[in-house]
Symmetry: C3
Subunit: 302 residues, 3 copies
C-alpha cells in the first residue's frame, strides 16, 4: 500500500505543477478563515454584551470585560488586516494596518446604534417575537446583519478579502448572503432569512423588510470583469416590503418608497413609489383533479 500511495502522491504533485491556478504555494500569508471566524464570534459578544455569554455580566465587571474583549479582537484582527493589505501591496507597513484597525474599532458604537434600530424593527414586524431578547438570542438574520454592518466598515476602509470572509462566515451559519459592499439603512429586518442575497452595489433605504429567498442581483452579462466597480445591483427605497423568493435585478432598477412586492416575482425594471406588484391572479390555474376532459399537461399533476 505504501508504494501505491507514494505513486498517488507523485501524480498529485505533478497536478500541482500543471494546474497552478488553484494552489497557494510560496505565496504571501493569506488571511485565516479560522481566525476570522473566532473574531466574528467575539465581535458578536462585544456588540451584544451579555447575550452570547455563558454567564450573565454584572455592570461592575463590564469595563474590565469590555477592555479585555477590545484588546483580544484588536490583536488578532490587526494581523488579518495586515495580511490582506500585503496581498495587494507587498511592502505595506504594520502601522497602516493599525490605523485601519483603529478606524474600524472607533466606528463600532455607530454599528451598535444601527443594530438597535434593526432589533426594534424586527420586534415591531414579527408577532412571533415575544420580546427583543428572543430576537437577539435566536434570530439568525440579526447575526448576519451585525456581521455585515461591521464588515461594511472594513470594506469602506479599503480592506480586501477580510470583509468578504466575515460575511461568508455569517452566510454559512444563516443562509443569508449580504456582500460587505451593500449600503443598508436603519431599521432593517429580514424575516426567516435563508436564501437572501444582497449584492455588492445594492443600496437599501430605511425600514425595509425582506422575506427569505429575496435576491438583489446583477444581470449576468458578457462584460464580466469589465463591470467591476460599476453599480450592478438594485436600489430599494424606504419602507419597501418584498415577499419570499422574489428577485430584483440590475443596477438601475429602483423599487420606489413604500412599495410592496409579492412573492416569486422577477423584477427587471424600476417600480414607482407606493406600488403593489404581483402576478395577475387570473393567470393562476386552479384545476379539479377529478374532472375529466380538462387538459392535464403533465403527469406530476395527478
Amino acid at each position: 500500500m505504501d508504494k501505491d500511495l507514494s505513486k498517488i502522491t507523485d501524480s498529485i504533485l505533478r497536478s500541482y505543477e500543471s494546474c497552478g491556478g488553484i494552489n497557494h504555494v510560496d505565496g504571501a500569508n493569506l488571511p485565516s478563515k479560522r481566525a476570522l471566524a473566532s473574531i466574528c464570534e467575539d465581535l458578536l459578544q462585544l456588540l451584544f454584551p451579555g447575550f452570547h455569554d455563558q454567564e450573565p455580566i454584572r455592570s461592575v465587571h463590564l469595563p474590565r470585560v469590555t477592555s479585555y474583549r477590545v484588546t483580544a479582537i484588536a490583536d488578532r484582527l490587526r494581523e488579518e488586516i495586515a495580511k490582506s493589505l500585503r496581498l495587494r501591496e507587498p511592502g505595506c507597513p504594520e502601522t497602516k494596518a493599525e490605523r485601519v484597525l483603529f478606524d474600524f474599532l472607533e466606528r463600532l458604537p455607530e454599528v451598535r446604534e444601527l443594530l438597535t434600530t434593526d432589533v426594534q424593527a424586527a420586534f415591531e414586524g414579527d408577532p412571533a417575537a415575544n420580546n427583543t431578547d428572543e430576537i437577539i438570542l435566536a434570530y439568525p438574520y440579526l447575526e448576519a446583519v451585525a456581521i455585515q454592518r461591521a464588515a461594511h466598515v472594513l470594506y469602506d476602509l479599503g480592506v480586501p478579502i477580510v470583509p468578504r470572509i466575515m460575511t461568508e462566515w455569517a452566510h454559512s451559519r444563516t443562509g443569508i448572503d449580504i456582500h460587505p459592499g451593500a449600503k443598508i439603512g436603519r431599521s432593517f429586518f429580514i424575516d426567516h432569512g435563508t436564501g437572501v442575497v444582497i449584492g455588492e452595489t445594492s443600496v437599501i433605504g430605511e425600514r425595509v423588510k425582506l422575506y427569505q429567498g429575496v435576491a438583489l442581483i446583477a444581470r449576468s452579462l458578457a462584460g464580466g470583469q469589465a463591470l467591476r466597480g460599476v453599480k450592478r445591483h438594485p436600489t430599494i427605497e424606504d419602507r419597501v416590503t418584498i415577499y419570499s423568493g422574489t428577485t430584483v435585478m440590475g443596477g438601475d432598477t429602483v423599487i420606489g418608497a413604500g412599495s410592496t412586492i409579492g412573492a416569486s416575482v422577477f423584477v427587471t425594471r424600476s417600480i414607482p413609489a407606493r406600488s403593489l406588484v404581483f402576478y395577475e391572479e387570473k393567470q393562476l390555474q386552479i384545476l379539479d383533479k377529478d374532472k375529466r376532459g380538462q387538459v392535464v399537461v403533465d403527469d406530476w399533476m395527478i
Copy 2:
C-alpha cells in the same frame, strides 16, 4: 496602542449606556445557546439510537446507554428550562422546571413514533434513497423535523425561548426553519429542504410533502405585535404536495386535501381539495435569441 484601545473601550462602554436595548447586563441568566446545541445533539442520539454514535450499540448495552443519555439530557435541560421560566416569572421554583422536564421526557416515545412515520414517508417518496438507514444518516430534513417535534412538546408545555433556540439550531445546520409552534401531522416529508419556512401557527395534515424553499408565512401587516397568538399561517390538509419555492400566505388560507401546487407560485387564498395549481403555461414566453425583430426587453437576455 494601549492608550488608543482604552479610548475605544470607553466609547463602547458609553454606547452600552446610550443604546441599552441590545445589552443584557445585570439581568437574569439567559438560556445558553451552546448548552442547548449540545442537548439537541444528545436528543438526536436518544431518538435514533445507534445512528449518531461512533460505534454500533449492542442490545445488551442499550439499557445502560439509554439510562445514561436520559440522565445527561435531564440534568442540563432542567437548568435551561428553569432559566427560561424565570425570565418570565422571576421567582419560579425549581420544582416547576422539573415537572415540565418530566412531561417533556415522557412524551419522547410519542415523538419517536411520529418520526418512524416520517422516515417511511421519505423512503416511499424518494427513489434516490437506497434504504431508510441512508435517510436517517444523511437527510437533513429528518434532523430538522426531529428537533421541531421535540421542541414542539416544550412549546406546548409553555416553555419560552428554549424551543425556538432549538429549532434555530436545526435551521442553522439544515436551512429549514420550522417554528416550534407549528402543528405537523404524521408521515411528513421535506425533500432537499433548504429555505423551507413553516410559521408559528401553521397546521399541517398527514402525508404532506414539501420541496425546498416552500414557505408557509403570515401576511406582513401594520398590526405587528397586536397579532401575537392569532392564527396567521396557513393550513395544509392531508396528502398535499407543494413544489419548490412556492409561498402560501395567511392564517385563513387552506390548501385542500389531495391538492398539488406547482413551483414558484404565490398562494394568498384557499384552494379546494383535489386541485392542481400552477401558472398558465402559455404565459411562459419562449423566444428565439437569434430571430430578429422580436422585442428583447432587457440585455440580460442576450
Copy 3:
C-alpha cells in the same frame, strides 16, 4: 427524580422495541459522519494546497506535506469505504475497499483539473471577485462543487452512502445540495448558491451558470421507489444560464444549449437551444396603492 428518570428510560426502551425502524442496534458498523467531515476538510486542503492552511506552504515542503495528507486521508477513508461496502455485502474483504480507495485517489488530479476550470468560470462571471484567490478562499459554491466532484468519483465506483454523507456535509455548510450522482461538465459556476438543488440523475454541460435557489428536480410520482435508477432529473446543455429560484423538473426535460432562463420560472418541458424563457412582462400587475377604485385583492397589499 432518579426513580422518575428510570421510568422514563424504561418507556424509551419499550419504544425502541415497538418502533424498530429508526434504531440501529446490533447492526453493522455504520460510516461515521464525524470521520467523513474531517476527511472532507482534509480533501479540500489536498485539492487547494495552501488555501485552507494556517501557514503558507513552501514549495520545498510540498512533497512531504502532500505525502502526509494522502496517507492521512487514505487511512481513514479506507475504513469508511469498508464499512459502507459491508452494509451491502457483509463479508466484503478489506482488499476490495482498498482497491476502491486507490481508484478514487488516482482520479484526484482529474478532479483538480475540473476545479481549475470552475474557478476560472467564477472569476470571468463575477465582477465582485477581485481575483481567483478570493474565490477559493471565500466562495461557498466552490467548496460544494469540490466535494461533489470528489464524491461523484466514489459514487461512480459504487460506494454506497459515503458519497451522500460527503455532499450533505457540504450542503450543511453552504446550502447547496448537489447529489453525488449528478454529472457536471467543465467551467461550472453557481453564484451565491444557497438553496440550489441538483438531483441524482441530472446531467449538466460545460460553461453552465446557475444562481441561488435553482432546482433540478424529479417529478413526485406515485411510482416512488419503483423509479430508482431511472433518469428523473433534467439535462442542462452547454452555456445555459438559469436565474435565481427557477425549478426545472423531469428526466426528459432538456434545456437547449445557449439558453437563458429567467428567475422564479417553473419549467416542466424541454426548451430549444438559444431560447429566452420568462413570464410575460404584461402579466405582472403594478398597481398604485393610493389610487381609489382599483380592486385590492388582499390586505397584505396595503
